[in-house]
């Protein structure tokens, strides 16, 4: 069990000692870093390939279809077939496009999505870089992708692409604020930005302590990686494919990859911050296996969203972000600040809640979150009612009906 838990670390150490026989120490550690980056990115890329398969299967099941089942058993080789197809496609550069920016954009989209994995603890002691400003780094890196998307949309010199790129920028900017504000309340509880500290503190996963924060983060993260119901940047029924309309072959594959890898990264972040990271729940399995299981569950939640929710319009999307999520998450952060003064989790870097105290702390935080949700619902009731009334009148059919009623 102990051996299995440390499996990857043992392999790493063995490889390190093997290389150290021939090479000087700085070279070995440099090779180690590059290899760890390469391995993590390769795993992320392969996972991304099978996420596309899983998404098609899950969405197909939700829509009462079977999904891909021709290539290999259960269609399991479908992603590989897609990959080979992408590889052998002609790479077109539109004559109108800005050549340099057009070529850089897809590569730049993948890089930050991949870099996010550098600070995520995948298992006990399994973190490539245990950065003391890990959370800030994640926020910074995840917002670089939107620059690449705007670059792609603008450089294509296609009206749909430009619109898609602009929408993506507006959406990702707007949802970054509630996402970051809601993480603030977790930072208040833990008092550190190091991601392994977050895992260490979570004897009880933060999803139970801060359910409201989790919901807000889930929504903002879905918007941040442009997953449905927030997929207006690439709404295929109105924008062809948004910012990647003009991209084909491997460049298109890279944009697709950036999107899926970013979604995977967001799932990993949520697991680390809200679901207790690699900590095992009830059944003792190796820590990295628990991490994989939790990530898998969250990814399926996103596929479930995709299968069930209709797409939001851009004005609804912005209204949700600025008129509800930003004030709500700010209020939540202040509420947490007050709670932390009376029920602290960490004092001077030491966990102060032990044993049965966790029960009272969890109940207090949970109840405070629920109360906050009810207060917000009460506050927003008049606004929601007014908006719904306006929307009813705004549809032509409703306006005609109202006129009929008035005439009669």
């Amino acid at each position: 069990m102990q051996q299995l838990d440390r499996l990857f670390i043992l392999i790493g150490d063995w490889f390190h000692s093997l290389l150290a026989q021939w090479l000087p120490e700085p070279v070995v550690s440099a090779i180690g870093m590059l290899l760890s980056a390469l391995i993590i990115m390769t795993i992320a890329a392969v996972t991304m390939l099978y996420m596309t398969y899983l998404e098609r299967k899950v969405v197909a099941r939700i829509q009462d279809r079977i999904g891909p089942n021709r290539v290999g058993p259960f269609g399991l080789l479908q992603p590989l077939a897609d990959g080979i197809k992408m590889f052998t496609k002609e790479m077109i550069v539109p004559t109108q496009a800005h050549k340099v920016v057009y070529n850089i954009a897809p590569v730049l989209a993948v890089t930050p999505a991949m870099m996010a994995f550098a600070v995520i603890p995948f298992g006990r002691d399994m973190v490539a870089s245990d950065l003391d400003i890990g959370l800030l780094y994640l926020i910074a890196v995840s917002s670089v992708t939107e620059i690449a998307i705007v670059m792609g949309g603008w450089a294509s010199r296609n009206k749909y692409s430009l619109l898609g790129g602009m929408r993506a920028a507006a959406q990702m900017l707007s949802y970054e604020i509630p996402m970051v504000l809601v993480l603030l309340s977790l930072v208040l509880m833990v008092g550190s930005l190091r991601l392994s500290d977050f895992v260490d503190v979570q004897t009880v996963p933060f999803i139970l302590l801060q359910p409201f924060a989790f919901i807000v983060f889930l929504i903002s993260a879905a918007a941040e990686v442009a997953r449905s119901p927030f997929d207006i940047p690439e709404a295929e029924s109105e924008l062809i494919a948004g910012y990647h309309t003009e991209y084909g072959g491997m460049r298109f594959a890279l944009f697709q990859m950036a999107e899926f890898v970013a979604a995977l990264g967001m799932a990993c972040i949520m697991v680390t911050l809200f679901l207790g990271g690699w900590r095992s729940w009830i059944i003792p399995l190796p820590s990295w296996l628990w991490f994989v299981i939790k990530t898998f569950i969250l990814i399926n939640v996103w596929f479930w969203f995709r299968g069930t929710f209709p797409r939001l319009r851009i004005d609804q999307l912005q209204a949700l972000a600025w008129k509800f999520l930003v004030p709500a998450s700010l209020l939540h952060a202040i509420m947490t600040a007050v709670l932390v003064t009376f029920f602290p989790l960490v004092k001077d870097g030491q966990l102060v809640v032990q044993g049965a105290e966790w029960l009272t702390t969890t109940v207090v935080y949970f109840v405070a979150n629920v109360v906050l949700l009810f207060v917000l619902m009460l506050l927003y009731r008049p606004y929601v009612r007014r908006t719904v009334r306006q929307l009813r009148v705004a549809t032509p059919a409703a306006a005609a009906r109202q006129q009929e009623v008035q005439a009669a």
């Binding site: 590569v107 870099m115 870089s129 010199r157 504000l181 008092g191 600040a337």
Partner: protein
């Protein structure tokens, strides 16, 4: 220092890997370009007018509000990290700070900067 070196390794591999994939695709794929194939694809219709035009101002307004709040968050993170060492005074300070920003948000809301038209 080692932590940042790892980030450097990730940046390097993260740029080299996708670039290699693009170059690989370019080597493997056919190269039979023609003017029609390379024209702008807008649902089969020929593109009308200039694409890089002045864009809807609403996006700019949102970007401005974003900058304000993003900077706010940058100020709030150190506060959050040091919070359990600072005591009640820090809470009051942050409340005043957040209050001013919420007032700013509601001003923008009232002025119609958050409406999409």
């Amino acid at each position: 220092m080692r932590e940042y070196a790892v980030l450097g390794a990730f940046l390097l591999v993260g740029i080299v890997l996708p670039a290699a994939v693009v170059i690989g695709g370019w080597l493997l794929g056919p190269k039979r370009a023609n003017p029609v194939k390379n024209s702008t694809y807008e649902c089969g219709l020929e593109t009308v007018g200039e694409t890089w035009i002045q864009f809807k101002v609403q996006y700019y307004v949102y970007a401005l509000i974003f900058v304000i709040f993003d900077i706010e968050v940058v100020y709030l993170y150190p506060w959050a990290v040091a919070y359990n060492r600072l005591g009640l005074f820090a809470l009051v300070e942050a409340l005043i700070f957040a209050g001013i920003l919420v007032a700013g948000l509601f001003y923008a809301w009232r002025k119609g900067a958050l409406a999409w038209f």
